[in-house]
Point group: C2
Chain length 346, copies 2
């Protein structure tokens, strides 16, 4: 994978450093624009002659694990950003995107953020609530739920993900470019499936498969809490999954073809069918960032758009969500001052 | 410099990665303890035979620029931390510690932080005020200034730098280990001197000198705002400087011996004589971190200690100050809730 990645990103004789010197300012070097328009498939076609069969298959499986889509639909540019953000090395990509975990688990991390927000005394909330319309009168923004509850605020921060945004009606309507960006959407329809395999033999196992129906890449990711079994993380395709229970059986069966194992437990969530996400972490298709990134980041009157899906840095990661949340919070504090009570249920 | 640094830090055949895998958790690998006790001089002695004269001089000048002290007084461990934090490479050390600047300048950055704090409506402040005693009654902490003004709060966050802390009297007294740490202090007595050199010829110049009385390392750091002259940053020794005007003349004269130039302006601040700092950015002496770091970070009743001088990560940098400020803020919010009005002038 290392050799494949190195060839893939060496578009300037400097492993991408010259063409993308500052990954948090991705359009900084205007010469990168031509590369932004191409797909992973087009770039792979160019380096095919210098890779052997195994290198080529591993490379495509690794890219599929990142983008959750075909090489044709994956933008080369977003892969290059992962590479640049990770210090322009394959070891960096592994270290920066997969190595570290929060000791108490990701759910506890989310809960802590929520509890800290609650502790301010300034938070009212509702979960599992579909917002159907968002109206900006100029003085106040009104968000109306499907069940016709109304929320009013001086400013509204929309964290609606990219692939869901076009389903909410805005009034005044979103500007054409932002609307087009949300209709096109991002292309990550991948599946991330967690397996518990019997015993500890597979703790250092990695597997990759390409071409493949479901499973692109897997690896042992430590032992389960009891210390007896192995946690295996798998990345693959989620496309055309329909019945969660059957689908994960199919996925697990394909993993077993890669490596025989006894699977005791499967954990996954179908983010593609989840109406609040309609996709997994954001990966842009070819020819998208230069066209739409700025429009996605723009405010619309009193509505601010804050999502990891258009973060400049670690787009699609929790880090990107923090980046975007901070951006909106600072903007609103600058405009309205520090919060006393700025939102209320009507 | 690159070759010198690579040999200096290759204490495990992996450029330090094995012995210091997580620089933000610096004592993680207990095998690093022996290395923590030695000085830069002791480590240099070991690699001397494999370096040539220029490599050896450049290495020592570069270390002097980091630590602002002799090789004997500089802890090898803190140098290794800079190396590990910078991705275990000399290019990383340059990139992470010297390359990027805030476009509007560092003073504007500090002002923005201050103004944001002011905007909360919860800040009262005084500058140029010497605190002589800090007393914790259990219910309230009282800080008394030299001019006998008293400040009261439920919690007090002391950001008094390491080298100043022993001059403030605490009641109850600081625990023996914390007190010993503050009495020993850190060893950075360096000088950072900014020069404006006529013309743009020196914009890419770098110089190093060792042994040297005053000047260890210099480099061109962009052009001045008018775009005509060159900003040169110099790192060197501040020891025994007494008269600011004369001292910077002496410093500038030494730079001119390295490279002839017409100097139009000199800007520097004698942090060593400044009663609110008594040193520059924190660098630990040998045999200090394992002994004192934990004690420095500990609270003392209702007094929290928050300074870049005992940050775990970028110690001595603004990043370390943010790390420490966040730590104290989170602790206090957890204990007292979000601020209404927690401090007032008596």
């Amino acid at each position: 994978m290392q050799r494949g990645f190195e060839e893939l990103f060496n578009i300037d004789g400097q492993s991408g450093r010259a063409l993308m010197p500052y990954p948090h300012d991705p359009h900084h070097n205007p010469d990168i624009k031509g590369w932004e328009a191409i797909s992973a498939a087009e770039r792979i076609e160019k380096i095919k002659p210098i890779l052997n069969e195994v290198e080529l298959a591993t490379l495509q499986a690794s890219i599929g694990a990142i983008s959750g889509n075909t090489m044709e639909n994956t933008g080369f540019f977003d892969l290059l950003r992962w590479w640049a953000l990770s210090g322009y090395s394959a070891a960096g990509v592994f270290e920066f995107t997969e190595t570290y975990k929060i000791a108490t688990g990701q759910s506890s991390f989310a809960r802590m953020i929520f509890e800290e927000a609650l502790a301010t005394g300034n938070l009212r909330y509702t979960f599992d609530t579909v917002i159907s319309t968002v109206e900006d009168s100029g003085a106040l923004v009104k968000a109306t739920t499907l069940s016709n509850t109304k929320w009013l605020a001086k400013r509204l921060v929309s964290t609606i993900p990219l692939n869901v945004l076009s389903q909410v009606q805005f009034n005044p309507p979103l500007p054409p470019k932002k609307l087009a960006a949300t209709q096109k959407g991002h292309i990550n329809f991948g599946a991330k499936v967690h397996l518990e395999a019997e015993g500890s033999d597979l703790r250092s196992w990695s597997g990759a498969a390409w071409p493949s129906k479901r499973v692109f890449a897997c690896h042992g990711d430590g032992l389960t809490n009891a210390g007896k079994n192995t946690h295996i993380v798998c990345f693959g395709s989620n496309n055309e999954f329909a019945h969660p229970r059957e689908d994960c059986k199919e996925f697990a069966a394909e993993v077993k073809q890669l490596m025989p194992m006894q699977i005791n437990k499967v954990i996954w969530h179908n983010w593609l069918k989840d109406p609040f996400s309609l996709g997994t972490w954001c990966v842009f298709p070819p020819n998208y960032s230069f066209q739409y990134l700025e429009a996605l980041r723009e405010r619309h009157g009193n509505i601010l758009f804050s999502s990891a899906d258009w973060a400049l840095g670690w787009r699609g990661f929790i880090d990107g969500a923090i980046e975007e949340g901070s951006r909106a919070a600072k903007q609103i504090i600058d405009e309205l001052g520090f919060p006393k009570k700025i939102a209320g249920l009507l």
